[in-house]
């Protein structure tokens, strides 16, 4: 019971903080923070499954987030017909060649005995295949990228509602995680961290530089939202009536009719952006709650107990007949898929896909800080970590600015130190998050809401 009190208290404080932002700054900012908090929470659920349940370090969060974003583009953007005509055939042939190449290598690896000859054969297949694929795909890619490069220059997607991309993003991430897991999961903890980080860098650099796929660093903008647009809302009568009713007291005080109309217009504009953000927040909250229920169920199921046994003592679990390798791979895929969903959600929220923005600092390390600060192995903790750290990450600059102004208030406006500090207020977020992590790791190594396992006593 004590545990639940802590959780409720922590979450209430968090919600109060966000409401405080709404009152002090503006409701749009508060809801933007809330939406990102919810997306971060999905990411931390994914990372927590891997680290908290199974003790696997995945520093490749960035890569899976980017894959989720890619899925959003490929699902939502309408197909570019000219590009398909120009080079679609070449790309399809290349894809078939890659798949058949992998299949041939697999059969070679299975059929032949281990010998030098086998290695040479595999190497030869890879090199020849590479040359052939370059030969076929090269002109195709050039043709595709030449199709109206300012607007398209890529194959486009399926033209489906973006909501579907949340599932597709999860599948993409799961597929890549399967390959990465096969390669890297045998490694020791810190090697695994480095290997996953570097593989994520490879994934991001492919998304960045293969322009035919998703325009690369030229970015894709104007992805369609699953919720109404502000402009449409501002034009619809039911929404204006709703705003009028909501603010009727305030509006009644104004006597002049034209002035009243101006105030109402302003209120409608503000309310429309709040309404859109609320709709998104509702969607995101649904995802978070579904995932939370599923992960909680999994944590207290026999499977969850098995995972904890493997985490706490791999050798013993192995001796008890648990398939450690298989379970590690499974949980690696599951966690990565959840991160992929979060990636698609983030692109849905922004309405644009910017591969250049996927950097390890923001999408791997900050997420890890969230998991560790919140509480390793505890889903409520991980979600809380997502909220707290994202809140600090965004609000650090205003807080820092306040303190700088407070401590340098006796200094002159033109003082060089004061000007310099005010200019660099944005970087205090790194300091705040870093020191927060160090303090939590030192004095509360299990996080704000630690893992609690009820073991029944006989």
């Amino acid at each position: 019971m004590m545990l639940y009190k802590n959780i409720i208290a922590a979450y209430s404080i968090m919600i109060l903080l966000i409401i405080a932002v709404g009152v002090l700054q503006s409701w749009t900012i508060a809801l933007t923070i809330l939406n990102y908090c919810l997306i971060s929470a999905v990411m931390t659920i994914g990372a927590n499954i891997q680290w908290g349940y199974a003790g696997l370090i995945n520093f490749g969060i960035m890569g899976y987030t980017a894959l989720g974003g890619l899925a959003a583009v490929l699902v939502n953007v309408p197909p570019v017909k000219e590009a398909w005509k120009a080079g679609g055939l070449g790309m399809v042939v290349s894809l078939i060649l890659i798949i058949s190449g992998v299949y041939i290598i697999r059969t070679v690896l299975r059929k032949f005995e281990n010998s030098k000859k086998k290695n040479y054969i595999v190497a030869a297949i890879i090199i020849i295949g590479f040359v052939i694929i370059r030969y076929i795909s090269g002109p195709a890619i050039e043709n595709i990228e030449a199709v109206d490069p300012a607007k398209t220059g890529f194959l486009g997607g399926l033209g489906l509602p973006i909501i579907f991309s949340w599932i597709v993003g999860g599948l993409f991430a799961a597929g890549i995680a399967f390959i990465v897991g096969k390669i890297a999961l045998g490694l020791r903890a810190d090697y695994l961290a480095i290997a996953t980080l570097l593989i994520a860098e490879i994934i991001v650099s492919i998304i960045k530089h293969e322009d035919w796929l998703a325009r690369g660093v030229k970015n894709v903008i104007g992805l369609k939202r699953p919720v109404p647009y502000e402009v449409d809302l501002q034009g619809s009568t039911w929404f204006i009536d709703l705003v009028e009713k909501f603010h009727s007291k305030k509006l009644d005080l104004i006597t002049s009719l034209s002035e009243r109309q101006d105030v109402l217009n302003q209120l409608v504009i503000d309310a429309s952006s709040v309404y859109v953000k609320l709709c998104l927040a509702g969607l995101f909250l649904t995802v978070v709650i579904i995932l939370l229920i599923l992960t909680q169920k999994a944590l207290y199921s026999p499977w969850g107990r098995k995972m904890r046994a493997i985490r706490d003592n791999e050798v013993a679990a192995n001796a008890m007949g648990k398939n450690v390798v298989k379970e590690h791979l499974l949980i690696f895929i599951l966690g990565s898929a959840i991160v992929g969903i979060a990636g698609a959600m983030m692109v849905t929220n922004d309405g644009l896909f910017t591969p250049g923005s996927y950097r390890p600092m923001r999408y791997t390390f900050v997420i890890w800080v969230m998991v560790i600060v919140g509480g390793t192995g505890n889903n409520f903790g991980a979600i809380l970590g997502g909220f707290v750290v994202w809140f600090l990450w965004v609000e650090a600059a205003p807080i820092a600015l306040f303190f700088i102004n407070f401590f340098t208030s006796h200094l002159d406006e033109t003082n060089a130190l004061k000007a310099h500090l005010i200019q660099s207020a944005a970087y205090f977020r790194f300091l705040l998050v870093g020191i927060g992590l160090l303090i939590i790791m030192r004095y509360r190594p299990k996080g704000i809401i630690p893992e609690k396992i009820n073991i029944k006593k006989i």
């Binding site: 370090i57 860098e201 660099s424 300091l431 020191i435 160090l438």
Partner: protein
């Protein structure tokens, strides 16, 4: 004649840049490997620690320049390396005392220390950005070239010029000296031997009376020297930008692991392996083959294996391959 032209071309565009870049990576990789071998954790703050040392050197360079102090035809930054090293060592020991030592004494698992180093990374990045800002800074001064391409052409009468930038020569020269002194220290002196013993088997080393505090202190001192010199050399050759330094951590890790983590000599060579691979795979061989092959066989494509966009990806792929087939690295790791 065409053959010599081809060789010069190759030297100019691949070998010399790769040697320079490899030296910069090698210094960082030895730093990673030392920390991993003796302090036993993967230091994710590597790039930012190098950045910190470089920042001090950059600021001192600007300060010296404002007084009109220069180092003749050599860059002023070389003068600022010793004080920068002192600042770096001081910072590292400060961090060690207040952050890392607690976990070392408690004998925490390496993973926890790696996580702590992520925290240090955040803090260091914040300090750097607050002090110097995130912008690009060039602090190179002095003579730019040792050998200009035009001069070389006139001297030899060849079509292709060989240009050697002074930063390239300085990088390679300084790296050779620093690394030789370090290996002499590790292999020939008593302190160095005790460090290797500590890395090999901590308990045995403690039994034979090696003072762990001293070993840790010396490790941080060497790490500070390597980090600062590596960082300043990279900054002189390219330019100083905090974000780039953070990103450089990744190829440096790749170099350390490819060489066999915990093995300084492996890390040293690993730096060059990564650098050569990156540059050789992304170099466009068209001109090179135009010189070598008879006219009717001349290539019309760029003859580039992978576009330069994938420079980083190449080194990471090498790392993945090495991890798959020889997880202990090319040279057996985990001994110092």
């Amino acid at each position: 004649m065409d053959f010599i032209n081809a060789i010069i071309l190759f030297l100019n565009y691949t070998v010399i840049p790769a040697l320079t870049y490899g030296s910069q990576l090698a210094l960082g990789a030895i730093f990673v490997t030392l920390v991993y071998g003796i302090l036993r954790f993967a230091n994710f703050a590597t790039g930012d620690m190098m950045s910190f040392g470089t920042m001090v050197a950059v600021l001192l360079t600007f300060y010296f320049q404002s007084f009109g102090i220069s180092f003749g035809f050599l860059p002023t930054a070389l003068l600022t390396i010793p004080p920068a090293i002192l600042a770096m060592i001081f910072y590292m020991l400060f961090i060690d005392k207040f952050v890392f030592s607690y976990y070392r004494i408690k004998k925490s698992p390496p993973v926890q220390l790696a996580m702590v180093s992520v925290g240090v990374m955040f803090v260091t990045q914040a300090i750097i950005r607050i002090i110097i800002g995130p912008f690009d800074r060039r602090f190179f001064d002095g003579e730019k070239f040792i050998l200009k391409a035009n001069e070389f052409k006139e001297m030899t009468g060849l079509n292709e010029g060989l240009a050697i930038k002074s930063t390239q020569a300085i990088t390679i020269f300084v790296t050779v000296i620093v690394v030789s002194i370090m290996f002499w220290f590790l292999n020939r002196t008593k302190t160095g031997t005790s460090m290797r013993a500590y890395s090999d088997n901590e308990d045995l080393a403690l039994l034979s009376g090696i003072d762990p505090k001293k070993v840790v202190l010396i490790t941080w001192i060497i790490a500070g020297i390597l980090a600062t010199i590596g960082g300043v050399l990279y900054g002189l050759d390219k330019s100083y930008r905090p974000f780039v330094y953070f990103n450089n951590m990744l190829p440096i890790f790749a170099a350390a692991i490819v060489g066999g983590i915990g093995n300084p000599f492996g890390a040293f060579l690993g730096g060059y392996v990564i650098a050569f691979a990156e540059i050789l795979v992304t170099y466009a061989y068209k001109k090179f083959f135009t010189y070598l092959l008879p006219e009717f066989m001349e290539p019309d494509s760029l003859m580039q294996l992978i576009s330069t966009d994938y420079k980083f990806a190449v080194s990471f792929s090498i790392l993945v391959i090495v991890l798959l087939f020889r997880p202990s690295g090319i040279f057996k790791g985990k001994t110092l």
